[in-house]
Structure formats: structure tokens, C-alpha cells
Amino acid sequence: MTPSLRIYLLRHPGVVRLGVIVLILIAWEIAARWFIDPLFISPPSRVFLSLGAVWQTAGVPAALRLTFFELAVAFAIAVVIGLTVGLAVGLQPFVRRSLLPIILLLYGLPQITILPLFILYFGIGAASKIAFGVTHGMFPITLAIVAGVQNLKPILLVSARSMGASRWQVLRWVIFPHMIPSFFAGMRLGMSGVLLGVLLAELYVSTAGIGHFTTMFTENFDPTKLFGLVTMLAAMAIVLNEIVRRAETRFSRWR
């Protein structure tokens, strides 16, 4: 290794990171091509080439759109619920002391155990996925809002009120701007919750979403298409997470 290359690599760990990923892909390619039964695993090159074929499988684009729709609706509802409950609980010390333990208790319970109930109540269509995503996403958002409101300095509220600000003005000009960083932190956690909830419900039972196709590809022992579909979903999850994370860094800069 020449000294200049060495220095370049030392300065750019990201290049080495990419190298590690490429090495893993090569190892996977070799293992899948020559050592492991092709019924169970597919080499990355073939998965990559099959992405087009997966996209053209009847119903897959619609299924991805449906899953995206479920994620978006669940996220919107979770944000609205989290914001309302978080403000209602966080702004009054008495309500916070009374209800926050209950919220924490509910958040601590393993929600996955009641997934069959969601299917029973909301059917096997999109509604049950949205509902399960909402219950996973709303708790972290609520807790982040409560924490954000709690960190508000009382002196700011007192001085705003003493200068004659109305309730609405206090909310709009004092509480709201101070809440923005924790609000976006909560949105990020809420997004991973929503992704988890919707995907769990999709995988459990599905008639038209991606869960339907993962089951079908698994049962047909078609690992190439299964890997392709999972890759597309992972890309969707990464993009959604990244959007929320970017929004977080962008909007928490004002202080």
C-alpha cells in the first residue's frame, strides 16, 4: 500500500466502510453461487438483476403503493394523536403526574401479543395495519412531546404572561418554538415505531400488501424475488427514516 493511499484511507473511513460492505456482498455471492442450496439463498448479483422482474410481477407495484399508503396514514394519525395527547398531558403538572405513569405502563407492554386482536377488530385489509402502526408510533411521539414541554423554562411562561400574552399567544410563540426539537426527535422515533407496526401486521396476514407477496415467494421457494422485494422495502424504510432525520436536524437548528 502506497503511503498516499494509506493517508487517503485514514482520512476517509467512509471509503473503507464501503469496502467492508462490498466484501460482505462478495462473500455472500461466493457462498450463494457455490456452497448453499439455491432453493434457500440467492446471490446478490441475481437479486439485483431481478429487481426489474419483481417490479413487473403482477400486483407488486400496487402492494408497495398500498404499504406506503398504510405507512403514511398511520404516521399522520400517530403524529396527530401524539401531539394532542402529549400537549394535553404535558402542560398540566397534575395531569402529567397522574396520566404519564399509565402511558409509560401501556408503552412498556409487548403490543405484539395483541396483533391477532387488531386483525379481528379491523379486518385483514389496510385498516388493521394502519391501526397497529398508529399504536406503535403514538407512544414515542407522546413521550417526546411531554418531555419537550417539561423542559420549558417556567420563567419564559411567566414573563410572557406578565407581558400580557393570551393563552393562544403563549402556545404559539413560547411553547411551540421550544417544542420543535423534541417534536422532531419524537417524529423520528415515531417513524421507526410506525414502520415496525405496519410491517409486523403486513407480515402476519395480508391480502394485497407486501405481506401477501413475501408469503407467496417464501412458499414458492423463490429466494431471488423474495430478496428483491425485501431490498425494495428496506430502501423504502431507509428513505422514510432519512427524511424524518433530515427534518430533525434542519428544524432543531434555530436555537
Binding site: F40, F94, L109, P110, L115, P116, L120, L196, Y204, A237
Partner: protein, 256 residues
């Protein structure tokens, strides 16, 4: 005076909490007994309670509980071994931290449950796929917290120990481990919690046995009262396990 007010407010909060829970129970009872909500949607709370007692007495849960606990223990042992080993070696140089830490954090942000169909295809419907998924999911918080724990050890402590002539082993045992342990322990607790969730989740989605599987069976048989009782039973088991792990974490923090 202020103190008395505080105590009164504390009692008030408790009253609200108890009232809230009682209110839910009363609403549940009224909904099933008076307002005629379909028993297939919401079973009677008294029936659920009787079924819960029956579940506890009958010990029919033992095989499922054994399967789930075995999966959990094996998965956690795997992720703990690999997570701490990999985390330790990555944390040895600043450079390898900068290469690997973002890599692990990036993968951790993907919902790994997505890969469950791949695991089922590869490892089958039995316990192996649950163990593999649980180990994968809990590996990431453990490896990340191990890296964080070992890399944030105060440099002056290390320099001081070295200047006083500590051997490599002594440095590891008396400086690095005590400094990193609290962070690693909280990573282990987090890993344990999400391993439990991942295992019950994958049992719910595709499996042959286990607690999650049993809930699905009862749901498919429309045996609602028993299903509610079984959900309560599993929730209690999960809360107990998390309590034990939190207790061990607190003990471990004191050990060094």
C-alpha cells in the same frame, strides 16, 4: 404547607390513576353485559378472569413457555457473545470505530423484522428462525453500546493506570471494564427486551410452537375469553422477564 399540598396532589394523582383503570374495567363489564357487544369481539371480563385462573392451573402453557424461553436464552446468549466480542475489538482503535460504528447504526435503523421471511425460508418454521432473528435484532444495541462504553473511557484513567505500571490484563480488568460496564449493561437490557419482542413476534407471524403461536391458535379458534387470558399471561411473563433483567442490570452496576 407546601409539603402538605404536594402530598395531597400525590394522593390525587394516585386516585386518578386508580379511577382510570377501574373506569376501563367497569366500561368493559358494562359493554359486554349491558350494551350487548358481541362476545366474539369482546369477551366478558369475568369469563377472562376464570380462564386466566384455568390457564395458570392447567399448566398447559408449559411446553409453549419452554419453547419461547429456550429460543430467547439461546438468541440472547448468541447476540451477547458476538455483540460484546465484536464491539470490544472495534472499540480498540479510533479508526475502526469510525469505520464500523455508522455501519452498525445504519443497519440498526432498518426494521429488521423485514428479513423474517428470509429467515423463515432459510431456517424453517421451527425455533431456529426465531433464534436467528432474535439474535440478529438484539446484536445491534449490544454491539453499539459496547463500542460506546469502551470508547468513552476517560483517557486520563488509562494513562494513569499505564504510568503506574498496570499490565494489559490489569488495565482491562480494573480500568476498562468498570468504566464501560454501565453502558454495556444498559445495551444488554435493551437487547434482551427487543429479543423477547422479536421472538414473540416471529412466533405470531410464522411458527409451530411457542407463546405467540398459542395466542394465534386461540384467535383462529375464536376462543376469545381464553385468548384474552393467554394474552394477559404472556404480558405478565414479559413484564416479569424485563423486571428480572432490570434487577440484574442494577446488581451488575454495583458489582465493579
Amino acid at each position: 404547607m407546601a409539603r402538605r399540598n404536594e402530598r395531597a396532589a400525590g394522593i390525587g394523582s394516585r386516585a386518578v390513576q386508580i379511577g382510570f383503570l377501574l373506569g376501563i374495567l367497569v366500561l368493559w363489564y358494562l359493554a359486554t353485559n349491558r350494551w350487548g357487544v358481541n362476545r366474539l369481539l369482546l369477551p366478558n371480563p369475568i369469563a377472562v378472569w376464570q380462564q386466566l385462573l384455568d390457564v395458570l392451573k392447567s399448566s398447559e402453557y408449559l411446553p409453549d413457555l419452554r419453547v419461547t424461553l429456550t429460543e430467547l436464552l439461546v438468541a440472547f446468549a448468541l447476540s451477547m457473545t458476538f455483540g460484546i466480542t465484536v464491539g470490544f475489538f472495534v472499540s480498540r482503535t479510533r479508526y475502526s470505530i469510525r469505520v464500523f460504528d455508522p455501519l452498525f447504526a445504519g443497519i440498526y435503523s432498518i426494521p429488521i423484522i423485514l428479513f423474517l421471511p428470509l429467515y423463515v425460508l432459510f431456517f424453517g418454521l421451527g425455533p431456529a428462525s426465531k433464534i436467528a432473528l432474535g439474535a440478529t435484532i438484539s446484536f445491534f444495541p449490544i454491539v453499539l453500546s459496547t463500542i460506546a462504553g469502551f470508547s468513552n473511557v476517560d483517557r486520563t484513567l488509562v494513562t494513569a493506570a499505564k504510568s503506574m505500571g498496570a499490565s494489559d490484563y490489569q488495565l482491562f480488568r480494573y480500568v476498562l471494564v468498570p468504566a464501560a460496564l454501565p453502558v454495556i449493561l444498559s445495551g444488554l437490557r435493551m437487547g434482551f427486551t427487543i429479543a423477547l419482542l422479536a421472538i414473540i413476534g416471529s412466533e405470531t407471524i410464522a411458527s409451530l410452537a411457542g407463546l405467540g403461536h398459542h395466542i394465534v391458535q386461540l384467535a383462529e379458534g375464536m376462543d376469545m375469553a381464553r385468548m384474552f387470558a393467554y394474552i394477559a399471561f404472556v404480558v405478565v411473563i414479559a413484564v416479569l422477564l424485563n423486571g428480572i433483567v432490570s434487577f440484574l442490570e442494577a446488581r451488575g452496576r454495583r458489582w465493579t
